[in-house]
């Protein structure tokens, strides 16, 4: 019941009628002060940027190498060891390998359900051949959840059998993903990369509230 | 009151008022009773408006509907927990009540139906004459009522803050 009432007499404000008038004057002037501040914001540039239309550099380009985006697998490097499938704590990777009549093992299925993936990175850690890795992409919102199951194998591919040091270089991050996840947007144009490289000023991206 | 729309409106409002009053009298749920009272008082305000008593209608809205029914709701909600929705409103001696009801209703209705239809006075605005009357012929009652209101207000405030004066007398439940 008893509420903590503000003291009637504050330092700088005498009590009584003079204090009462003082309170009113102070309230009115501080409201005016506050309204003036909010009015001044009507003439200031908003801090927020319209994402993604008016971003100068696409966000994936600004992400560090270790960023764990959506998984992608380079089938030219995959040996079909199934380590990733076994490591995955939520079983969102499913791989099938069939041995054909010519005794060559072929990958017939390499699916990753990225709607279930929790981006823990255990699979890419366990991949000894750097076939399975995180891309720098993260925008994969779709109308139907089934579209989020990525099918990396279009037609059966033989598993990789490269000698050490002879393996082809991995394709650039995000490129494979763009083939299996339609609508991910165009590949970054070189000028954009240049612009990003030129933005070496460390104060530019920081200091924002 | 003649004309289609006023007649229709009268019956609608009368229905609302009677339904509200019946809700007050018969509902076993305290809160619903209170809301029914609101409906009945609101219907009365509408009927005053139909009777060209503008000021009366607005005063009814302002004081009864906006003030008293809200106070009653407040009281109901303060004096019963929200634990049970509605909270009981037990009625006792329903037969005695019914007897009282009939004993009043039958003679009153008999009187009502023997009334002449009556002639309406012209529909002049009544606010200004009432204002003149209040500050002219009825100035003494007006002042007495203001004194009474002041006394009631002071009394109510005094009553409502009764326990605050000596905290030792407060019941133990309130000391939590």
């Amino acid at each position: 019941m008893v509420s903590a009432l503000p003291p009637a007499v504050t330092p700088g404000n005498p009590g009584g009628v003079r204090g009462w008038v003082g309170h009113i004057v102070r309230t009115a002037s501080s409201i005016l002060e506050g309204l003036a501040v909010t009015l001044s914001w009507a003439f200031r540039r908003p801090y927020t940027i319209q994402y993604p239309d008016k971003v100068e550099v696409p966000v994936p380009e600004t992400l560090p190498e270790a960023y764990r985006g959506i998984l992608e697998v380079d089938l030219r490097l995959c040996t079909g060891c199934l380590q990733c499938e076994k490591t995955c704590p939520i079983q969102c990777i499913s791989i099938s390998i069939e041995k054909g009549e010519d005794a060559v093992r072929r990958l017939t299925r390499f699916d990753i359900d990225i709607s279930r993936c929790m981006y823990c990175g255990l699979c890419s850690e366990s991949c000894a051949f750097d076939a399975l890795a995180h891309s720098n992409q993260f925008e994969a919102a779709r109308q139907d959840i089934s579209e989020l199951t990525l099918h990396f194998v279009r037609e059966p591919v033989p598993v990789a059998r490269h000698k050490a040091g002879e393996a082809p270089p991995r394709r650039p991050r995000g490129e494979i993903l763009r083939e299996v996840l339609p609508g991910l947007g165009p590949v970054m144009s070189p000028p954009a990369r240049d612009r990003r490289a030129g933005q070496g000023d460390p104060s530019s991206g920081e200091g924002k509230p | 009151m003649t004309g289609t729309v006023p007649t229709l409106a009268f019956w609608g409002l009368a229905l609302l008022t009677i339904a509200g009053a019946a809700g007050v009298a018969l509902s076993g749920h305290m809160v619903r009773s209170a809301f029914s009272l609101f409906a009945a008082l609101f219907g009365m305000a509408g009927i005053y408006a139909l009777l060209q008593a503008d000021l009366m209608a607005v005063v009814q809205l302002l004081v009864y509907v906006g003030g008293i029914s809200v106070l009653v709701l407040f009281a109901v909600m303060l004096t019963s927990g929200i634990g049970r929705v509605g909270t009981d409103n037990p009625s006792h001696r329903p037969i005695g009540g019914l007897l009282v009801l009939l004993a009043v209703l039958i003679p009153a209705l008999g009187l009502a139906f023997r009334m002449p239809l009556g002639i309406e006075s012209p529909a002049d605005p009544t606010v200004a004459p009432i204002g003149d009357a209040l500050l002219g012929r009825f100035v003494l009652p007006f002042e007495v009522v203001s004194v009474l209101l002041l006394a009631a207000l002071v009394g109510a405030v005094n009553l409502a803050r009764g326990w605050r004066r000596d905290p030792e007398e407060r019941p133990s439940e309130e000391g939590r």
């Binding site: - | 009151m1 003649t2 004309g3 006023p6 007649t7 009268f10 008022t17 009677i18 019946a22 007050v24 009773s33 009272l37 009945a40 009365m44 009927i47 008593a53 000021l55 009366m56 005063v59 004081v63 003030g67 008293i68 106070l71 009653v72 303060l78 004096t79 019963s80 409103n89 009625s91 006792h92 005695g96 009540g97 019914l98 009282v100 009801l101 009939l102 009043v104 209703l105 009153a108 209705l109 009187l111 009502a112 139906f113 023997r114 002449p116 239809l117 009556g118 002639i119 006075s121 009544t126 009357a133 009474l148 209101l149 009631a152 207000l153 009394g155 009553l159 009764g162 326990w163 019941p171």
Partner: protein, 101 residues
Amino acid sequence: MSVGLPHLMFLSAVLLALGLYTMVTRRNAVAILMGVELVLNAGLLNLVAFSRFGRGIDGQVFGVFGVVLAAAEAVVALAIVLQVFRAMRSVDASRADRMKE
């Protein structure tokens, strides 16, 4: 048929009867107060009706007084009810019969 005095008297009579019924049968003090309000309204309706179908505006002036008095009555009554509730943890009118705690 147009609406005249009998209709208003009928409405007033029903309100009066229902208000009395509420006052007689209810145990809850707030409910009894509601009954009183209904009875008061029945009376006020009569005043306004006779003022409309009779002469002059005295009925309405009296009606305004009535509403104001009803407000004062309600405020005091509810303050008492709240006090009773604080003292006895109940608003049962039939149990509030002790003069002193």
